[in-house]
Amino acid sequence: MFQMIVKRLLGALPALFGVVIVTFVLTRALPGDPAAYFAGPAGSQEAIEEVRAKLGLDRSLPEQFVLYLRDLAHGDWGNSLTTGQPVLTELAERLPASLELTLAGLVLAVVVAIPLGVLAATRPGAWIDHLCRAITTAGVSLPTFFTGLLLAYVFYFLLGWAPSPLGRLDPYTTAPEFITGFYLIDSLVMGDGATFVAAAKQLVLPAITLALFVLAPLARMTRASMLGVLSADFIRTARASGLHPLKVLFVYAFRNALLPVLTTLGMVFSFLLGSNVLVEKVFAWPGVGSFAIEALVASDYAPVQGFVLAMALLYVLLNQLIDIAYGLVDPRARLES
């Protein structure tokens, strides 16, 4: 098992190298001149050239690329020009915020979508099936920034149930000590109930926003997969053997239906990681998405490259996890590796 994981990770290296090349070329191909941007609107031609030389942008592209690779190999992801901080530090500070939000949204979506899909599949045409269809349709047709704004409007502005949608904690609570960077976990580890509640309150609305968005593909896939499995021959065998209907449903049908759901889960998760930038904007969430967008607007190369690289790494790790989960569920997948 361990050997297999190492082998897979090594196999992902060429893909990561590809990501490095593509992001390097893409950021250079973007319109906008960072030297001009950082020299300021009043900067003279000389000042701009000076900044350019300082940034190393006066060298040829291959030369820049080799320098970039050398820095990467030394664990130096460059500095953000806007904040002056090393990119790695910035990402490390902001990534937990994004991950916490994404995971919370995903867990919420799974908890709702999978039972919904299973129930809809066992009662096709019943009210629960129609409910499932309505929710999935709404989920795919409502853009996240809209549901985010709507939720904030209703639950913060109109009802006042939720705290103001400004970041991970209200201004009166201090952040828990950094252990994992997940406020919910850190505050629990520290035994700080008040901070936990405060962090949870801030998290609810953005997490629901994300959950609503990914609920649709998950519920739909669960329903379709369950329907397919329930009509399979081996389910008929299980029924003909007189097995209890719940055992047939969960031990025989559900585990078999899980595989495509796992695949979908991996897909929506990686999709969420990068694309929850809108939700981060709406709820002023200090995550990596908003960080990358700001850097992109400023033609700040290093953070953009760092962001894409970090996402690629996460994506590789995530696929590993999904593969391992696959192997746990399906013995045939174990054999292939």
């Binding site: 021959d233 081996f234 053997s241 209890h244």
Partner: protein
């Protein structure tokens, strides 16, 4: 129909309809059948004649769209239609068991085969896990799977088709049922494996005095292993009789054509006669009394009258107004005399 004392399974006037978008399919029409203890009955007929629908109805695992519109089902004196719920579930797998075609897909692909057997044992006996495992291992040995200890943890994809069918049989026979329904148990297996599987089923049913309903479209298989044969066509049972007699002297034109279409021994392929036409569309509301009429060469005006299985002898019945009785009049008469 009166209760025959030694009948284990009694199907009387059973009709099953399927509701589909394009109309109601009259899949079974007043089907009657009895199966004695320890007897092996072959149910033959072309695809779509209702063999599987009948067996699923007996097991109570018919499709959600299927509706039993008439008739009765009795198993060992118990009315199977009266309690379809929990009571039926405890009978299923314990008293009535079934094995299916295509064993590879009829087994749960991601559960060890031994555990699939143990699941059934645990369901019906309630013994603890270790004992279930022990019993499951015995079951594997009984269906002659070599090295059961090792095979217990195998997944279906690691076994050959024949092995999978043995596992299927082990699952079905785990709780020593009194009735086994084998729905084309050898379809999808190669010929030598077919013979081994059939012998296994035959031996086990003989040893346990188990009644077997063998559903097949392979007539030579039915002939070799069944005491009696029931021929189905388009949801009707058209002829029932002792195996040897039915093959030697089929009385229903359909049975005759079916036998003529079966390859055997030295017969050349060109000698095989196909049956003209197709099964009638069972969604029609104007189905003729004899559903074979439109394909029958002996069709005549008298064929439109109401039709039911009528006995030719104590053991042989046919549902045909123009049965091929002339083929065996003498022998039948003498049989009447001897059986009277």
């Amino acid at each position: 129909m009166s209760h025959t004392p030694d009948a284990l399974l009694e199907v009387a006037g059973l009709s099953v309809d399927f509701r589909t978008r394009s109309g109601t399919v009259h899949a079974l029409d007043k089907v009657s059948l009895t199966l004695a203890s320890g007897e092996t009955l072959g149910l033959v007929g072309e695809s779509g004649s209702g063999k599987s629908v009948l067996s699923f109805a007996i097991m109570g695992i018919q499709d959600a769209a299927a509706r039993i519109s008439a008739g009765s089902l009795h198993f060992a004196g118990q009315d199977l239609l009266a309690n379809r719920g929990k009571a039926m579930r405890t009978l299923r797998g314990r008293e009535l068991a079934m094995i299916f075609q295509n064993p590879r897909v009829a087994l749960n692909p991601i559960r060890q085969v031994g555990r699939q057997i143990a699941d059934v044992i645990s369901r019906h006996t309630g013994v603890h896990a270790a004992a279930c495992r022990e019993r499951a291992l015995q079951c594997l040995a009984e269906v002659r799977i070599p090295d059961p200890e090792r095979r217990y943890d195998a997944y279906p994809f690691e076994l050959s088709g024949g092995m999978c069918q043995r596992v299927m049989i082990a699952i079905a026979l785990a709780c020593k049922p009194r009735l086994l329904i084998a729905d084309e148990p050898t379809t999808g297996l190669d010929v030598t494996t077919q013979a081994a599987i059939m012998r296994l089923i035959h031996d086990l049913s003989a040893r346990r005095q188990m009644s077997t309903l063998l559903i097949t479209h392979d007539l030579s298989l039915a002939r070799a292993y069944c005491d009696r044969i029931a021929v189905m066509h388009a949801g009707h049972i058209v002829e029932v009789g002792p195996s040897a007699e039915l093959f030697a002297h089929p009385c229903h034109p359909y049975s005759e054509r079916l036998i003529a279409a079966t390859p055997h021994g030295a017969a050349a392929l060109s000698a095989l006669a196909s049956i003209p036409g197709n099964l009638p569309d069972l969604r029609r509301d104007d189905l003729p009394a004899c559903r074979f009429a439109e394909r029958c060469s002996r069709y005549g005006a008298s064929c439109d009258a109401a039709l039911e299985l009528r006995p030719l002898s104590a053991t042989h019945s046919v549902a045909c107004h123009r049965a091929l009785e002339d083929a065996i009049p003498l022998r039948l008469e003498t049989e009447h005399v001897t059986s009277a």
